[in-house]
Symmetry: C2
Amino acid sequence: MMAVDAAVATAGIRRGPGRPRDEDIDGQIIAATLALIDADEDLTVSRIVARGGVSRAALYRRWPSLTALVAAALDVGRTVPPPVDAEGDLREAIVGSLLGDTAAATSGYSEARFRHRIRLVMADRTLQKAYWSSHVSRRRMPVEAALRRGMEGGILRGDLDAEACFDAIAGTVYYQLVVRGDFFDEPATRARVAAAVDVIWRGMLA
Amino acid sequence: MMAVDAAVATAGIRRGPGRPRDEDIDGQIIAATLALIDADEDLTVSRIVARGGVSRAALYRRWPSLTALVAAALDVGRTVPPPVDAEGDLREAIVGSLLGDTAAATSGYSEARFRHRIRLVMADRTLQKAYWSSHVSRRRMPVEAALRRGMEGGILRGDLDAEACFDAIAGTVYYQLVVRGDFFDEPATRARVAAAVDVIWRGMLA
């Protein structure tokens, strides 16, 4: 027991190569948050720091609030898509980027986490708005920029609301998962989304 | 105490005009279910019958399962819209029916219940599928029938997938509430939905 205490005391004052790197602590906090989310447990700072083996101060140095931390954890594994290549087929590039990103978010293992994310944001509008501002809206930017280039280039109608067009396509996908309860990778679901995208794209053309 | 027990016993064996009517028991069970939903408590048959002051047998005589009961409770206040009047402006009739029904489901007092419904169905795909089959899909029928009449009458393209068109419009509305976290009756939200409906309708026209 004394040996353990001494080791802890030594570790506490040690500096240099043995000190946990910042990114390790980031990862421990995010992993602890996701473990609680996946286990469907209440999300509190106390539970997260206990599970992650870190201090409250370490958590609050990295995230200003529990809400910001949960939003970041929900976004793990997702990235802002690269700029849409507008040289080739604009429709294929835009729809491919938009649906590819949605598919990445909702298929396979992460489908359970997608459903959990919706539950969490519907229970907490502050979290919903934080997640929207810091993550979803940033991920939409490459596609919205490509839509605006299509409008300027005369392929798409100049009076389109690019955000509304994005919402129509992404909303069709969300409807499958949130209202119908279907899986995105079922053939019938894909066929229905493709039919809706046909209609929406036709309505966007100049 | 004895007097109360005697009164309960008398009520239990009483038959005739004093017996609670079936619709009263229906209402008590639904009200108890909604009270638990609104209080964010776990939904179990035991809690519902305790709160509603009814027997388990009375509950199961009316609903085959807890899932079917919760789906029915979530649908309280909503009805299948009347047939869409296709004599006048088809777009106005279809979009008005579709958005009017969505607005009824998501505005004012029932917005909290809308958010709660999404949480419940995202936590339980069996409930989600039950709610879809017994309620949502039936409510869509008048609009889908009007879309098909528009296709047969040559106003809309004959090769449309009416279900996919419905999903695109309704999905745009869901996206506002489920992803953006906006209120349906905010002017900016309405403007965005109107812009998306413009695009979708244009893409549907023959």
